[in-house]
């Protein structure tokens, strides 16, 4: 655990230094999106990686976060920082309400239910006048200010807000993984029956995981809305986002706190670069390449890239030990 903490601090320090070394706008843009997606991946990892309940509907929580902060800012001039926290609370409440009926379902049925719930929430927002329905919300443009979380001259503040959020989230995930809750969630993932037999209230723990996951996702959503300054239901509640979260975590390493970061640092640059280079004609190429990678991972290393890294590290370690023995 202590070792993990050191690694995490190093990773965050490197991420903090990167935008100061590479100063191009497009690089900064990639960094912001990468960190937002990595945060979403971490959130998804709690419910699916740890607790084993596959969710295909995380765009719902992401969207609720984005909409809460945007509506509050747009309608009532309330700072997005407040909106962010409220968004998190709303998303957590929605997660709580959804969890009760859906956790009676198991396996793929639960996955289908999450997919449906996300779609229902999207339709609600499309026909909801108060949030401008399908037209979407253009956030009011103000001068650069930390209070309103809007910066037009430089992207650096966005990067550091996103990094701050990601850092908190990854430390929270690390803490959860090594705590009683983490052990209980993993036990539920491995076997429902066993979990019950050793005194775990499976429904409560799954709901807790879902609520934490939704809370974090909503924070990422608010930040995303403040970054792009325009949201509508079709871009926020889209299946595309739900699936991207799943894919990048699976590629990076499901159930591992480093997984989402690794996955995001492959998928996001890939999709941004292809988008910039190929424009509209290249739509979907990033996901095609990514799909191929995921198939390879699923076939050869189900634990993702992090699994591969661990395997190689182990091999080196063994060889190292062998050498020591040979020398002595």
């Amino acid at each position: 655990m202590v070792k993990n903490k050191k690694t995490l601090i190093i990773i965050i320090a490197v991420l903090a230094a990167l935008p100061l070394i590479f100063k191009s706008d497009s690089f900064h843009n990639i960094m912001v999106l990468l960190l937002i997606y990595a945060t979403l991946g971490e959130a998804w990892n709690i419910i699916t990686g740890f607790a084993g309940q596959i969710s295909f509907g995380h765009a719902a929580f992401f969207g609720i976060g984005a909409y809460t902060s945007s509506v509050l800012f747009y309608r009532f001039d309330i700072s997005p920082w407040v909106g962010m926290v409220l968004g998190g609370i709303f998303a957590a409440m929605v997660a709580l309400i959804i969890s009760y009926p859906t956790f009676r379902l198991k396996g793929s049925y639960f996955a289908i239910a999450t997919l449906a719930v996300a779609e229902i929430i999207k339709q609600l927002f499309v026909s909801w006048k108060f949030v401008e329905g399908a037209t979407g919300i253009s956030l009011p443009i103000v001068d650069d200010s930390w209070l309103c979380m809007e910066f037009h001259t430089t992207k650096l503040p966005y990067i550091y807000i996103a990094l701050g959020l990601f850092a908190i989230v990854i430390f929270v995930c690390n803490y959860i993984e090594n705590s009683k809750t983490g052990f209980y969630l993993k036990a539920i993932r491995e076997s429902h029956e066993v979990a019950e037999s050793i005194g775990i209230n499976t429904t409560n723990y799954k709901t807790l995981a879902m609520v934490i996951s939704a809370f974090i996702s909503a924070f990422a959503g608010s930040l995303y809305a403040q970054y792009v300054l325009y949201i509508d239901p079709f871009m926020i509640f889209t299946l595309d986002i739900s699936i991207k979260i799943v894919l990048l975590t699976v590629l990076g390493g499901i159930g591992n706190i480093y997984g989402p970061l690794i996955g995001a640092s492959i998928l996001i640059p890939l999709s941004e670069i292809t988008r910039v280079q190929l424009g509209g004609t290249g739509r979907g190429i990033d996901l095609m390449i990514f799909g191929l990678l995921v198939i390879l991972v699923a076939c050869y290393q189900p634990k993702g890239i992090i699994g591969l890294v661990n395997k190689v590290a182990k091999k080196f370690k063994k060889e190292g030990e062998g050498n020591v023995e040979a020398n002595s």
């Binding site: 052990f183 076997s191 066993v194 979990a195 019950e196 037999s197 050793i198």
Partner: protein, 247 residues
């Protein structure tokens, strides 16, 4: 005077029209090993599931320390102090032996340190210390069974229920489990054991309950059970029962 800890009163369990348990009653006293035996399909595991909350019994009552626990959910029953293992071993595959047992240990504590302390104590007791960093999925069948018992023990139960924990083990391994059972009894636990291996069960049991076709056909100390006509008939069939042929 022995103090009664678990009382099973007229449990009946039906699956549709199939009666798996019919009016089964017996009691377990504190610090006692009770065995539940019977031919395949006698309803032993069903009864186990009824006691531990995996099934809701059709009728009857389970009383634990003067508290009616019939129909409680499985995790509540575990928290009260009754923990079970499974006939088909269920180790947590992606977790190491130590993590498997720690998951059980977390029932009584929130702190990781305390859970680790309980775990190392139990690994010592069950001879698993050397294997603590092996993944649950890559263990041999004996070790899986041992991990399962260890994980159950880590919840600090008052009654431990073992479902065929010796099936598929060799002689020395069975001896180990027998010794473990006796050690646990000494430390103050009560055990309810479902088992097919008579040579393992007879020497350690204080009381034996025999089920056949869902009904209790006999109950008593091991020496009585081996001479009970009904039990011999249930196992060998009427035709091959030496005594009934003579008569």
């Amino acid at each position: 005077m022995l103090k009664q800890i678990l009382n099973i009163d007229n449990i009946t369990m039906k699956f549709g029209s199939l009666v798996a348990n019919e009016n089964v009653s017996f009691t377990i006293n504190e610090n006692e090993i009770v065995s539940l035996i019977g031919p395949n399909g006698a309803g032993k595991t069903t009864l186990f599931n009824c006691i531990t909350g995996y099934y809701q019994p059709f009728s009857g009552k389970v009383t634990y320390k003067d508290m009616d626990i019939t129909g409680f959910t499985a995790y509540k029953i575990c928290r009260l102090g009754i923990t079970r293992t499974f006939q088909i071993v269920q180790t947590l595959k992606e977790m190491t032996v130590e993590e498997n047992i720690m998951t059980g240990a977390f029932l009584n504590t929130k702190s990781r340190k305390e859970a680790e302390a309980i775990t190392s104590e139990i690994m010592e007791l069950t001879d698993l210390t050397k294997k603590k960093s092996i993944l649950g999925g890559s263990l041999t069948i004996v070790d899986k069974k041992r991990v399962e018992i260890a994980r159950s023990l880590a919840t600090k139960p008052q009654i431990l229920m073992l479902d065929e924990c010796m099936a598929g083990l060799n002689q020395t391994e069975i001896k180990d489990v027998m010794n473990l059972c006796l050690k646990l009894k000494e430390s103050g636990l009560s055990l309810l054991i479902v088992e097919h291996i008579m040579e393992a069960i007879m020497p350690i049991s204080d009381n034996i309950v025999v089920l056949n076709a869902g009904k209790k056909i006999a109950e008593g100390v091991p020496s009585d059970i081996v001479n009970n006509d009904d039990v011999i008939k249930a196992y060998l069939g009427d035709k091959y029962h030496a005594k009934s042929q003579k008569s």
